[in-house]
């Protein structure tokens, strides 16, 4: 048998993919890390804090992002997608489509002058549409690589052949409107790790959120939106405000299992919501220690390390009220304050609760593009389109030499994603080292 080559390919630059890449690189194995978005970091970069330690998410993530960028054993392909995979375990070759940023990566120093001058205002994806960005933009403040990207769909030059103001203002002459998408071929890949993360149910068209007035009532937001609202670098710069009137909330209700554990959406449990909801309530409480929090749940699922104590702390120190009740629907009053009707199980009474903001813990769903990727690489998906893994081979896919980690195969929290990242790295290393 031909000697296995010393390269690994990791698809997806979220925390799972990052951990897999760093472990492999630290083993001396060269890693090609592919990220679809302009910057690596994934969902973790969008979070404000992380449970159960309430560490600042980007603060603990940033060193890892930098490490990925600096490590000589990692070649980072951001804004890129895998197009084709050929070969067999131990020797794959892969074609990558690197999208044109229209910014020369080696010249851009992320000074921000172009952003300042760009006249276009576009919904910001990273901030979950809660803020506008420009047509030339950094994907997020702490993003890696720290390079601007021109969003072709919204750039005046590409849509109307006008403007080019960014070009005129760039002192480094880094803007290049003639840049083309690039096809890159990588050979000698021993093993591939798929870590393309997840989407949320609000990302796709659906009826489930309708009953909760999502996108109809401005003070009904999803958990990830709320996470951005909490974040210091988010659209509200760390001050929680109602979207309808900018008032600071005094009562917030968190609704669990939105679109999960139901025959009317996803049957599975989204795994992380019980915990992050408590975390969000704690952080919100830290913003305002008179704030009241209500968490409506079916089963509190807190099996991880320190999770139960975390819930106890939430109750005792942060005034969180846990109410076992799933909410049927939401209405609003004249001030656009959401009104929740629920049954108080202790008394069997049906109660009305008016709050200032409702936060929906929406269900994790498989990532966009997974069906195509499954075809390209040739692994099987389960009934929901998560990657299928055989019993007791948690990071293995149906195809030899292809591994997976993180939420792309099942909803999971960050520690498990990290462990799986390492785990996938170990399996890939076995193959690359001919074991």
């Amino acid at each position: 048998m031909e000697e296995a080559s010393k390269r690994a390919l990791v698809i997806g630059g979220g925390i799972a993919g990052i951990q897999a890449s760093l472990d492999l690189a630290d083993m001396g194995i060269h890693v090609d890390l592919i990220e679809k978005k302009p910057c690596i970091g994934g969902k973790m970069a969008q979070l404000d804090k992380t449970f159960p330690t309430n560490d600042c998410s980007i603060c603990i993530l940033a060193p890892k992002l930098s490490e990925c960028y600096r490590n000589l054993n990692i070649t980072l392909y951001s804004y890129s997608e895998v197009q084709k995979v050929e070969g067999i375990v131990g020797n794959f070759s892969v074609e990558i489509l690197k999208h044109a940023r229209y910014v020369k990566e080696d010249l851009c120093i992320n000074c921000g002058l172009c952003v300042e001058k760009c006249p276009m205002r576009v919904e910001d994806e990273f901030d979950r549409q809660l803020r506008k960005r420009r047509a030339i933009y950094m994907y997020y403040l702490q993003g890696v690589p720290a390079i601007m990207t021109i969003d072709k769909k919204n750039c005046l030059w590409f849509t109307k052949e006008a403007c080019r103001i960014c070009e005129k203002n760039c002192e480094k002459e880094a803007i290049d409107f003639n840049q083309k998408d690039e096809l890159i071929k990588i050979n000698n890949i021993g093993s591939i790790i798929v870590a393309t993360g997840y989407n949320l149910i609000e990302d796709i068209d659906n009826d489930i959120l309708k009953n909760y007035g999502y996108q109809k009532y401005r003070n009904v937001v999803t958990a990830l939106e709320f996470e951005r609202m909490l974040s210091a670098s988010g659209p509200q710069e760390g001050h929680i405000k109602r979207i309808s009137d900018g008032e600071e909330p005094k009562k917030i209700a968190y609704l669990q299992c939105i679109g999960s554990r139901t025959d009317r959406g996803a049957k599975y449990c989204s795994s992380i919501c019980c915990m992050y909801t408590t975390k969000e309530a704690m952080i919100a409480h830290e913003h305002d220690n008179e704030l009241e929090s209500y968490i409506f749940y079916i089963d509190m699922r807190a099996g991880g390390k320190g999770f139960q104590s975390f819930l106890r702390r939430g109750e005792a120190e942060y005034d969180i009220k846990y109410i076992k009740s799933k909410i049927a629907e939401i209405s609003i009053d004249k001030n656009e304050s959401p009104i929740i009707v629920y049954e108080d199980l202790d008394t069997s009474e049906i109660k009305k609760l008016k709050v200032d903001i409702v936060v929906l813990a929406t269900c994790i769903i498989p990532p966009e593009g997974i069906v195509k990727l499954a075809e390209v690489i040739g692994f099987e998906l389960d009934d929901y389109n998560f990657i299928k893994t055989p019993p007791f081979s948690p990071v293995k896919t149906s195809r030899d030499g292809i591994f997976t980690c993180g939420c792309v195969h099942e909803p999971m929290d960050i520690p498990r994603s990290v462990a799986e990242g390492s785990s996938a790295a170990a399996r890939a290393a076995e193959i690359i080292r001919g074991g």
């Binding site: 600042c56 992002l65 670098s233 807190a302 390390k305 139960q308 998560f386 007791f392 290393a429």
Partner: protein, 561 residues
């Protein structure tokens, strides 16, 4: 005397980080940077929204070059997570990594003084000034390079340990797997079927054992215990005792995968081991078709999620569901009632499994911690909060779901390895979030239920993960380790009176007496904790990077203003 000590040559750059709003939200970072500029020897100061971002790092590098800086101070979060990054950054522009000083104005300032912004601002000024004064007399240090023994020791032959060992051996590392029982397999040996696919446990475990037995580079020692350990990352000398005889092994990394034990529910719910038994005792009965009950009641969270043992053991719900389903499959008209508090079936397969149990007619009744079920003769009384009254359930077999608890001998092992335990005596990892399978001590890793109760799937994940972490060390012929260690310089040797306080006090066994009866510090073992330096009555031992002068400079800077 080195050149850097001459003050006129010292050019400090100070970077004040907003850390988003963690710092910037409370105190004025711009003003802090302006203040920093007024300090002696400071050639440049600026504030950044996130100094640790690639953009922030780029501005450090730019400033070093533009202002010819030879000291860098970052005032930000905590060295615990970010010091390596900034050190790496300045070394990329040619500065010695130890010419960096970290000033903690987040964890130790804005976070703890959240309600006092004015005072926090003043404290931040003090801290920055102290940092700048210390920076002046920082000295360049070399890191220490040590060889790595490409072998691994895995402690624990359960499912996590076996997978870790298999992986490492397949990666080509000589691996030793030690197990205290007389056979491999751990708790798997006593299980019947495994959720959520109801795979036969004995088949599954035999299969792995075969792989272990046939693996190259893998040596197994059963009935063996770790007795002693010497050395440091890359170079451990391990003493294992097997049936009374000593075996010495040399390895570069160690994995702890000792699993957990089951709580015996003595004095709980009338446990008698006969018709009031544990899930664990139920399994062989199912296997041997010894169930002759018509009404089975299972109680969850027996001895867990209470004040004594706060945690959720995370595997018991699935275990109960599994056993209920298997019984139902064998005889569908047996009534099975599960009394639970919150059903823990996260993810896809487990929730589906839960639903399957409902489909097969298993009855679920929720109870609260404040209203636990009571066993009275052949019936169980439980307060049903859903209808607000007590319900009577007749039973002829009561099954208690007890949690996984930390092994009795965890303490002993933790002492040998010098790794910490958490409050429940499970092993404590380096960082719950981002270093789930590392210990704070480099070179030692952790996986499986030794860290926290996990199911088989996750044990396997963690076994591999720990192997991966170990491999990041074992894959190198040499590694660099921290240069900021304790140090007995030639010129201080005459001060030492040989009192051995340092030897006795060193938690890492890094100090010994050599053949000439002189104190010798093994730098590779030293973590730079400083206790020896503090304890040395003659002030002979110097702690590099934390010299008395450097610390006094900080103190003077604070009080001298």
């Amino acid at each position: 005397m080195s050149e850097q000590e001459k003050k006129e040559d010292v050019r400090i750059g100070i970077f004040v980080c907003h850390c988003g709003s963690n710092i910037g939200g409370l105190i004025d970072c711009k003003a802090l940077a302006e203040y920093a500029k007024t300090l002696p020897n400071v050639a440049h100061a600026e504030d950044n929204l996130f100094t640790c971002s690639e953009t922030g790092l780029a501005s450090i590098k730019k400033a070093v070059e533009e202002h010819d800086l030879n000291r860098v101070v970052v005032a930000s979060c905590t060295p615990r997570t970010h010091e390596p990054l900034f050190r790496e950054c300045i070394s990329e522009v040619g500065l010695n990594r130890y010419l960096f000083n970290f000033v903690n104005i987040r964890d130790q300032c804005t976070w703890v003084h959240m309600k006092y912004p004015k005072e926090a601002y003043e404290k931040a000024k003090d801290l920055i000034r102290m940092g700048a004064y210390r920076a002046v007399i920082l000295e360049p240090l070399d890191t220490i390079i040590v060889n790595v023994n490409p072998g691994a020791l895995v402690i624990g032959g359960g499912v996590a340990g076996m997978h870790a060992a298999l992986n490492l051996s397949r990666q080509g590392f000589k691996t030793y797997l030690i197990e205290k029982e007389d056979k491999l397999g751990g708790r798997l040996n006593s299980l019947y079927k495994l959720f959520p696919h109801d795979i036969d446990a004995s088949e599954f475990v035999e299969n792995i054992k075969n792989n272990v037995q046939n693996a190259q580079n893998l040596e197994v020692y059963t009935s063996s215990k770790l007795k002693n350990i010497k050395g440091f990352i890359g170079n451990y000398e391990v003493e294992v005792e097997q049936d009374g005889k000593k075996i010495n092994l040399s390895v570069g990394a160690i994995i702890v995968a000792v699993g957990a034990s089951l709580l015996k529910p003595n004095n709980l719910f009338g446990y008698d081991g006969k018709n009031r038994i544990t899930q664990h005792e139920l399994e062989p009965k199912i296997k041997n078709n010894e169930i002759n009950a018509n009404n089975i009641v299972m109680i969850q969270c027996v001895g867990s999620r209470n004040d004594e043992r706060q945690y959720c053991s995370s595997v018991c719900c699935m275990t109960a569901l599994k056993n209920a389903l298997i019984i139902k499959e064998k005889k569908s008209d047996i009534n099975i009632t599960i009394l639970f508090r919150d059903l823990y079936t996260p993810g896809i397969d487990y929730e589906e499994y839960y639903k399957k149990a409902r489909k097969k007619g298993v009855l679920f009744i929720r109870y609260g911690l404040d209203k636990e079920p009571t066993v009275e003769g052949n019936q169980i009384k439980v307060y049903n909060e859903y209808i607000g009254e007590e319900i009577i359930i007749p039973y002829d077999l009561l099954v208690l779901s007890t949690p996984l608890i930390a092994n009795d001998d965890n303490k002993e092992l933790a002492q040998i390895l010098k790794v910490p335990l958490e409050v429940n005596n499970f092993f404590l990892e380096a960082h719950v979030k981002l270093r789930p399978n590392d210990f704070a001590t480099d070179g030692i890793y952790i996986g499986g239920s030794a860290k926290w109760p996990v199911d088989i799937t996750e044990s396997i994940t963690q076994g591999y993960a720990a192997a991966s972490r170990a491999s990041t060390i074992l894959s190198h012929e040499t590694i660099e380790i921290e240069g900021a260690t304790a140090y007995l310089p030639e010129w201080n040797k005459n001060l030492c009176k040989g009192c051995e306080v340092c030897i006795n006090i060193c938690p890492y066994n890094a100090i010994k007496k050599n053949e000439e009866d002189e104190i010798e510090i093994i730098e590779a073992l030293c973590k730079g904790c400083g206790v020896c330096g503090a304890a040395c009555t003659k002030k002979a031992i110097i702690i590099k990077h934390f010299t008395n002068e450097q610390i006094l400079a900080e103190i003077y800077a604070f009080g001298g203003k």
